[in-house]
Symmetry: C2
Subunit: 272 residues, 2 copies
Amino acid sequence: MTLHIDGFVFDLDGTVYLGDTALPGAVECIATLRRRNKRTVFVSNKPLESRQAYAAKLTRLGIPTDPDDVITSALVLGRYLARTAPQLHLYVIGEPYLVAELRSHGLTVVDELLDQDPREVIQPRGIDAVVVAFDRTLDYRKLNTAYQALMRGARFFATNADKACPMPGGAIPDAGATIAALEHITGRKVEVVAGKPSTLIMEIALERLGLPAARCMMIGDRLETDIAMGKQAGMATAVVLTGVTKREDVARLASPPDLVLENLGELPGRVE
Amino acid sequence: MTLHIDGFVFDLDGTVYLGDTALPGAVECIATLRRRNKRTVFVSNKPLESRQAYAAKLTRLGIPTDPDDVITSALVLGRYLARTAPQLHLYVIGEPYLVAELRSHGLTVVDELLDQDPREVIQPRGIDAVVVAFDRTLDYRKLNTAYQALMRGARFFATNADKACPMPGGAIPDAGATIAALEHITGRKVEVVAGKPSTLIMEIALERLGLPAARCMMIGDRLETDIAMGKQAGMATAVVLTGVTKREDVARLASPPDLVLENLGELPGRVE
């Protein structure tokens, strides 16, 4: 049986590319699907770079892409907060792109409270909510500010909850580290995680595709995020073995993905 | 029945003093016990200041104290590592006093790997073990260095695991935040926590008192650390209500402390 699919949602790292190199079959796969008039969008949990930057990278690798077809966890959180709580004053543990993205949705981001000694009880003046993201400039001042705000009832959001971000040579601590620290010491739980495996990011991907979930497929390299999320959204799913998942990992699943692909080159032959 | 006790182990913050002020009855209590030729020692989980500094503070507040009668989590960890694993090269997430304390036990502390970009996969050259402590200069470089070392099998120790450190006006994030972050993202568990409620710190306190546990009492303001630890060590216990514990908290306990004291002023009348 060949699956009939009209819209494809691709994970990026480990699925389409690794570092600065397109993975085997990726360029041809996406070109073939587009020639068949299929729709393609790309999702990433990384709140470090703009959609323009991701689109430019894909285009450079041979996959011409419109920035509107790239969906980051930062975009998803920005849209979510603009829709549900636009009045909140946000304290962001994150990098400059995330702040710019949130402000582009009309949201208010509070500056660092640099007049206060980070070794004291920082008074979280004017902070209604804490946003935690991947932040390679995390420091004690930020942790203390978020802690004080959360202990005084601030709301608690995150772009993503990944433990570590894959990098050349390994991985480095991601937003999951900061979330775990703050949850442990405050006894609070993060209310909403915008990125994978949240259904929020799938909703926005499907909205961009303009298709019902049943006609779409999620393709990624991670079973616990990409595949779990696609299934939860009611989409078909395909795992590619070019990233963190091995064939024996798939064999263990009670509810396996629809397709298991050595690489993206196999995808066009398995769908119509 | 009056308890016969020869050695007293006092918690400091919330028991003997709060900030820079002796708590009611503390000065008279300790003077009275010493006039009866009782032995007194003081324990603190805070790895921020030297035993000399704590002794000087107690002396200034009217409780003349020898630095050797002050036992910090840093001292306990230093002695433990010097005894069990003196050859380890330690990477310390902590402040300068802790590094000095560890080095004073003949241990090797590795310098920060400042030649490496903290946004990359830091190569944890020459690190055999990670030591986590209260550190108000925590940053992403330190988190990343510890993460890489732990992922490559480094041993994992902590001075203390407190969630937050009480301060004028509230509390600030303590070592518990960093431990939670690293445990979550590495899947590792800290092997040894030197400070309360570990029995290690009680062993060293009893060694200093030179008395068997059955003739000693632990006095503190926290049920889950001070009192739990005293009981586990086989000591008598007394909770003082000058810190974080309220009388109704004690009423809930299946195994309550031997004494519940409004303040230390009541202690000499309740023991002999």
